[in-house]
Assembly symmetry: C2
Homo-oligomer: 330 residues x 2
């Protein structure tokens, strides 16, 4: 099978630290053939990391390059729309880093374009391919905790300017709603949808505790999947003194807890706890493999733009709920 | 100082296990002189516990008894109104176990009556007198964690028919909204108000996971104290496999966690955790002492019926929110 020749658009943290290790694991499937970044320094650095591939500051060069089969777009959120649109129009396969777009109308335009696209449009939401959530889903489907009636997911972090993500200027002065809550929260939305289905309604509160890291950093959301199952998502980025990431899933026969990013604990009355440690890179390796198989084997795209749209709209609507102090329907 | 002569109305679990040990600590301040319960067996048992005091199944005997200065009312929630009203009309000091009443209109009638009452009307909400919350309040007032912007309180329990409270028929077939969520939740509402002020608005979801213990047992509430502080209260009574009671208070300079019913942990970045174990009986001893001092020394009543009304209305409104799927204002 011929390898897929990748052009990299955006050489920031995601490209270097999340995508590159995953692509390297699939050496037999991908060749990185060109890289582009607005800042030449970053493009050059990426080139050095990848054996000295050609680099540029003008991404149109990548899109015009007939040697590029597919582009991996990992740019500031507000630029997703522009680059994805141009890549689709240029006839490339597209691997677009989440969230789909900064604004709902941009996202809808991308979906419309995707429908006419001749090539694959893949929204890179790694949580959908993370062995952690895939295993949790299996266990829930097997009814190990019976029927689920609620989920409480607390993500408590202290993100300061020491953090590499918080140091990126486009995150500090975000041109999209929700700041880090949006950036990080679409992952949570994706995992919740994957495990429990679509969210139908909800109400949120949101605040800015540490403005240095962006517009909003504290978010609480109470939502309903349906009449029988509801949930709470707390994403706090400016928590002082401790960190914690725990999703507690409440079933009528037991509880399943996803701790941090690699452990599942099943608790039942009177039984010894069952702990499962999951080996995972966050799902990046799997998502590149899936992207490859959609292109080469024609398997079903499990993360088309429509899925990314549903994830992002949960956050967009929740922000609207918090800002206008009203219930929202999805 | 003359001792206050108490008549006990309702000889159930609260009277026996919560009130009696506290009253016994104040032997120099209270004499229990009569007891009443609809079921003679219970009245007799209580009499035996208290040295063979006279008992009856007709509470009017207590209310007519000139030797009774004050009555302690601890009856099924739906009977609070009837007995409190009759006790006020009979001219007794009243110590009324929370919640104030089963219905808002009953509560408002009691408040109107209280205003014309010549004697003390005290709503026994022990959390207001619990050394745990009093200490937490002191620490927050001292700004040990800076300005508070959020609170998340998770109360996860598995209440089955093995539990003595769940065995009471009036709880299983509750004639008041919210079942155990109401019964227990007014305590949480009182503590939240005490620590952070009045709740202004919110949205709730509620379900019945185990109908054997009453109408509702699972409750999530997202609420706002004001524009700068919001909170989440999860009260789940049918959690399988683990128990937990933790209030996490988020301040811009640190976090304060109230664990179970007797420990405060303060967490700050880069510092050793500070843990404070609080010696507490839940506040019962303090609330009886306070009741005594209101009557004998004329100190300010820190728990008049109006306060109990505010506590109960948070729950009543939240139930309305969940049932009608709407935001509520308080």
């Amino acid at each position: 099978m011929k390898k897929i020749r990748l052009g990299i658009i955006g050489c920031g943290i995601a490209a270097r630290e999340l995508h590159l290790p995953a692509i390297k694991k699939h050496k037999d499937k991908f060749d990185i053939v060109a890289a582009c970044n607005r800042t030449e320094k970053k493009a050059k650095e990426y080139s050095l990391l990848t054996g000295g591939i050609p680099y540029t500051t003008d991404c149109r060069e990548i899109l015009k390059n007939p040697d590029v089969d597919a582009v991996v777009i990992a740019v500031p959120i507000d630029l997703n729309y522009k680059f994805a649109m141009e890549a689709i129009k240029a006839g490339k396969h597209v691997f677009l880093e989440k969230p789909l777009a900064a604004k709902p109308e941009e996202a809808r335009k991308l979906i419309a374009l995707q429908k006419r696209a001749k090539k694959v449009c893949f929204l890179a939401e790694n949580f959908r391919f993370d062995p952690l959530y895939i295993e949790a889903k299996k266990l829930l489907d097997k009814k190990v905790i019976g029927d689920v009636y609620s989920v409480v997911w607390n993500v408590f972090n202290n993100l300061t300017l020491k953090d590499k993500y918080a140091q990126t200027k486009w995150r500090q002065k975000n041109k999209y709603p929700g700041g880090f809550i949006y950036d990080g929260g679409v992952h949570n939305a994706a995992a919740l949808r994957m495990l429990f289905g679509d969210i139908k309604s909800g109400y949120a509160s949101m605040k800015t505790v540490n403005p240095a890291i962006g517009t909003e950093d504290t978010f609480s959301f109470l939502f309903n999947f349906d009449k029988t199952t509801h949930g709470i998502l707390n994403i706090f980025f400016s928590v002082r003194g401790f960190r914690s990431n725990e999703m507690i899933i409440f079933g009528d026969k037991g509880s399943l807890i996803i701790q941090n990013t690699n452990r599942i604990v099943i608790k039942k009355d009177g039984r010894k706890e069952r702990k499962v440690n999951i080996k995972t890179d966050g799902g990046y390796e799997n998502e590149f493999l899936h992207f490859y198989k959609i292109i080469t084997k024609g398997i079903k795209n499990l993360s088309p733009f429509e899925e990314g749209y549903k994830d992002m709209m949960i956050l967009q609507k929740a922000f609207e709920s918090a800002k206008k102090d009203k219930l929202i329907k999805l």
